[in-house]
């Protein structure tokens, strides 16, 4: 079987497992709804553009940490052994990253619309904002999936994911917040071009690193 087909099948398997157990995806939605509502109560609708943007990404950060924390946790011991005998680790990490990417993009779009509903603001360059959401989801899913793999070898301590993951996400988040702020302020594509290129290359580096390093974690 070709490489891409194998990865695609694993992504489908992951999605099916998730769908069978709908409560985790519902819990995720309610988690982000609840955090958005808490910010709504705290800020009482008086909110400027910078705060809007920062809050959006903070909520995304916590929601995605929550979403990805279980990505290696939920695999039972038996399933892990089965994976171990059947798969190469490279397929596994790529499929987990792609699945989490789809999950996070969906989640961030939902968050985006709810955020727009509760705190209506006008975004000048919606296409740019959506692109930065997509790139942000790629970065978040890659780094956090890899760190979740690391944490799964360290007794699956849930707090460890945040401790290990957040410092690695600082570069990504600082660029992405700048980038999406430019989109809100309606800067031209030319202004954001450099930031987008940096983001894409950062994402490429993280995907490549996870792809190369995950096999060492797998065979311990």
């Amino acid at each position: 079987m070709s490489f891409t087909r194998k990865v695609a099948q694993l992504v489908l398997l992951e999605a099916r497992l998730e769908w069978k157990n709908k409560q985790s995806i519902t819990a995720l939605l309610i988690y982000s709804l609840a955090s958005i509502f808490v910010t709504y109560l705290a800020f009482q609708q008086t909110i400027d553009l910078t705060t809007w943007n920062s809050l959006f990404w903070l909520i995304m950060l916590f929601a995605s940490t929550n979403a990805i924390a279980k990505s290696f946790l939920q695999d039972s011991k038996g399933l892990q052994l089965y994976y171990y005998s059947m798969l190469s680790p490279k397929h596994l990490i790529l499929s987990k990253i792609i699945y989490n990417l789809i999950l996070l993009s969906g989640l961030s779009l939902v968050n985006f619309f709810i955020f727009q509903l509760i705190f209506p603001i006008s975004i000048d360059q919606t296409a740019q904002y959506l692109l930065s959401i997509l790139l942000g989801s790629i970065g978040l899913s890659t780094v956090l999936t890899m760190v979740a793999g690391i944490v799964s070898k360290a007794n699956n301590n849930a707090a460890l994911l945040a401790i290990l993951g957040f410092p690695l996400l600082f570069p990504l988040l600082s660029i992405i917040i700048q980038c999406s702020m430019n989109a809100i302020n309606g800067f031209d594509w030319m202004v954001n071009q450099q930031l987008f290129i940096v983001l894409i290359s950062l994402n490429l580096i993280t995907v490549l690193l996870s792809y190369l390093l995950f096999p060492y974690l797998w065979r311990e």
Binding site: I150, K153, A154, P167, F170, P171, S174, T206
Partner: protein
């Protein structure tokens, strides 16, 4: 483990002499030597020998940490992991020293010990990353598993750290001397007098960091031998 005893450079004395000579020279000429008179900076420019050099030593130790993590993953030799761990610890010491010297300097030059500067944020992130590295190490009881997982994290963290403190600050203006139009010690105004002190200072502090690290590795080895017998 035995490869450490074959490692002649760690036991050689010549580079330790160079370190001492460089540091004595730095401490003497760092305070006595001529410095150019510059606005804002004035005499605080001497911090170049004691603050910037700390970062250089820290970066060197982090590079050693990353290289030995890669070496561990390819060889599974425990000695490589010990070197990685000790160089990470020593890098934290130099990071703390660099942070303190920088904050004291910034308090007099910028008026505040901490500003929202890309380089400061990068430093804070780096320190958090390596603190997380040690938390990860302590979370895993099994020695081999610990070494493997920590090596993977260290390589990941090194690349991210590199992006954060080498690439991102280039994209924004910084308050640091020589950046964003501030007067500074870049190649145009770092005069030859200062260079005569700065380069030996870099060499001296880097060698001192490596020396301390190698001593700690040897202490670990002695402890292991005494525990075995």
């Amino acid at each position: 483990m035995d490869s450490f005893y074959k490692n002649k450079i760690a036991r050689a004395w010549w580079w330790k002499i160079i370190a001492i000579v460089c540091l004595v020279y730095t401490c003497y000429y760092g305070f006595i030597g001529e410095v150019p008179a510059m606005v804002v900076l004035h005499e605080t420019i001497r911090n170049l020998y004691f603050h910037v050099t700390m970062w250089m030593a820290m970066m060197l130790l982090m590079l050693i940490n990353a290289i030995y993590s890669i070496k561990y993953l390819s060889s599974l030799n425990r000695y490589h992991d010990i070197v990685a761990e000790e160089s990470g610890k020593m890098a934290m010491v130099f990071a703390a020293a660099g942070l303190i010297t920088g904050m004291v300097w910034a308090n007099y030059t910028w008026g505040a010990p901490w500003t929202n500067d890309p380089q400061l944020n990068g430093t804070a992130a780096t320190i958090l990353m390596y603190a997380a590295y040690f938390i990860l190490r302590n979370a895993i009881p099994d020695e081999n598993k610990k070494a493997k997982v920590a090596s993977v994290y260290a390589i990941f963290a090194f690349v991210m750290m590199f992006v954060f403190i080498m690439v991102i600050p280039k994209m924004y203006n910084s308050l640091h001397p020589g950046k964003g139009g501030n007067p500074g010690f870049n190649k145009y105004d770092l005069d030859s007098n200062m260079r005569m002190v700065f380069y030996p200072a870099v060499i001296g502090w880097c060698l001192l960091g490596t020396w301390l690290m190698s001593l700690k590795v040897r202490i670990r080895r002695i402890k292991e031998i005494t525990e075995e017998n």
